[in-house]
């Protein structure tokens, strides 16, 4: 006789008369496989915790986004937002799908070049661009998006000294009816600062103004804001043509589309309230069309979508380390993935699914990470079936920012693998170890055990 599957004994009390906004248990089936590969097999081979990227999902997302935007606007170019996930393998998939690179630091710029991205296909954003980095970018004919006047004058100086010409765009911030209003990046449209910058660029023979850029926010839940931004940029481009005789080649609407991760404190699941790609595309295209460009003068539309293209292509596999009860009898589960590698748990309610079969019963638990720090709480409250030590969980929607904002703190950063389209699994970033950590440290000689100088008088 085969034995029944063992599950930790659990009892839960029914409370009648209380509002129960959660309803019954969500009977989500276990996520035993990712792209056909068993979770168990992945953690046995590559350890736990483990980040897993899906090549197939990234390609699907990018192809889908291309199709949706190109159906609505004739000239569209995506530029992969490096800061969202700058693992070489991930960037390479986007570049193979014809995305340019959008970088915000020198090292991201160098990374893009090493991956073979041509200078003219690199968009260099951000408030921190050193003189050296600017010189490189100017020589490479990269698209430099100016953030502030000091940068504008720096570029002017470099082009004069080096006798070079630079292709530039300016970043513009504006009121599109969303809160918080992002005004720390770029030049403000409404107070005339943007126009001042444009005039200064236009009056300089070494600078060629080729584009206008805006990035209205992050995790935007309103497509309408993009319509306004697109419309305002388009009207500005037309004024530039009329008043200064400069044809703007492209409008860069930046990124900020929300992914399907649900925010902490958000009542409805993100899938139900976040605008679709179609809605964002409709809004942007109609915003540009409303400015009545002549067909041949329609600018190229650049998008720097990050999060919405990669979040659902990343998974974090984690293992239960221990079960315990808190003072008020609530169940707590300690898992081996902490907030140091799951930074986004500070603002998202990630979808977390067991990787093995479980019974019908479930309980409300607090999920803690492995760090000996009070902040290491992956989720204050989540309904999960009883889990045993060694059971695995799949944390979904972690492709964006977790692999760039992660840190080595108490625990090292783990392996990252990519499941390839052909079903093979490749290690794309090795886990860190003590050797890696110590490689950057320098112990002064007098502290070294073997040194005579360490014997100081006390």
């Amino acid at each position: 006789m085969t034995k029944k599957r063992y599950e930790r004994p659990v009892i839960s009390k029914h409370y009648s008369g209380l509002m129960n906004k959660y309803g019954g248990r969500q009977m989500t089936p276990p996520k035993t496989h990712l792209d056909g590969i068993a979770v168990k097999e992945l953690t046995e081979k590559f350890g736990s915790p483990l980040f897993v990227m899906s090549e197939k999902q990234i390609r699907n997302n990018q192809q889908n986004a291309n199709r949706i935007f190109k159906n609505r606007y004739p000239k569209v170019q995506f530029a992969w937002s490096y800061k969202t996930n700058y693992l070489d393998a991930v960037c390479s998939v986007f570049h193979q799908e014809n995305s340019w690179a959008e970088v915000v630091s020198s090292f991201e710029y160098e990374k893009a070049k090493k991956l073979g991205v041509k200078g003219e296909h690199i968009i260099f954003n951000g408030p921190d661009k050193s003189s050296e980095a600017l010189l490189h970018a100017i020589k490479d004919t990269a698209k430099i998006h100016i953030d502030h006047f000091d940068e504008l004058y720096e570029i002017k100086k470099i082009t004069e000294t080096e006798k070079l010409k630079a292709k530039v765009a300016i970043r513009i911030n504006m009121d599109v009816g969303v809160y918080p209003k992002w005004d720390r990046f770029g030049f403000n449209l409404e107070n005339g600062e943007a126009w001042q910058a444009i005039q200064r660029i236009a009056s300089n023979k070494n600078l060629q103004l080729i584009g206008l850029h805006s990035h209205i926010g992050t995790y935007m839940m309103s497509a309408e804001a993009y319509r306004l931004a697109a419309q305002k940029l388009s009207l500005l481009a037309k004024s530039i043509k009329t008043d200064l005789g400069i044809a703007i080649e492209y409008l860069d609407l930046g990124g900020g589309f929300a992914s399907h991760n649900t925010l902490l404190g958000q009542y409805l699941p993100a899938e139900q309230i976040v605008p679709t790609f179609e809605q964002f595309a409709d809004a942007i295209a109609s915003g540009i069309f409303s400015a009545s460009f002549k067909t041949e003068e329609l600018p190229l539309l650049i998008l720097e979508t990050g999060r919405a293209l990669v979040d659902d292509a990343g998974f974090l596999l984690s293992t239960v380390l221990a079960n315990k009860r808190l003072a008020d009898q609530r169940r707590a589960i300690i898992i081996d993935a902490g907030v140091n590698i799951l930074f986004t748990s500070f603002w998202y309610k990630h979808k977390i699914t067991p990787a093995q079969e479980s019974g019908m019963h479930s309980e409300d638990v607090t999920l803690y990470g492995p760090l000996c720090m009070n902040i290491d709480c992956v989720r204050e409250s989540i309904v999960l079936p009883p889990l045993n030590k060694g059971d695995r969980l799949v944390i979904e929607y972690v492709g964006a920012y977790d692999m760039t904002q992660w840190m080595q703190f108490i625990q090292m950063r783990p392996n990252v693998v990519m499941i390839m389209e052909d079903g093979t699994v490749e290690l794309i970033r090795k886990s860190e170890n003590l050797e890696y950590l110590l490689d950057r440290e320098i112990l002064p000689v007098k502290f070294k055990k073997s040194s005579k100088q360490s014997k100081t008088k006390h």
Binding site: K3, R5, E7, R325
Partner: protein, 84 residues
């Protein structure tokens, strides 16, 4: 001898619905929990409960102790067992 006793007037259905007739409270228990409660109602000792669980479920006796004690604590918390 166990020093705790399951409350009288407890009825547990096959589906794991637990009714405490004295207080009117209702609970849900999972398969393992239901088995333990039924054995406690039969006044079985811990050792007997363990061997029954090992026979019935895919688990080693050595791993049961922790979960069993935790379950007993949950029952105490809901005042379903009396400590003598």
């Amino acid at each position: 001898m166990t020093n705790y006793h399951l409350q009288e007037n407890l009825a547990v259905s096959d589906s794991g619905f637990l009714f405490h007739a004295s207080t009117g409270e209702t609970f849900t228990v999972n398969e393992t929990g239901k088995t333990i409660i039924k054995l406690l109602q039969q006044k079985k000792e811990k050792d007997e409960i363990f061997s029954q669980l090992v026979n019935e479920f895919d688990i080693e006796a050595g791993l049961l102790e922790k979960d069993y004690e935790d379950f007993i604590n949950q029952l105490k918390n809901f005042s379903l067992i009396e400590v003598k």
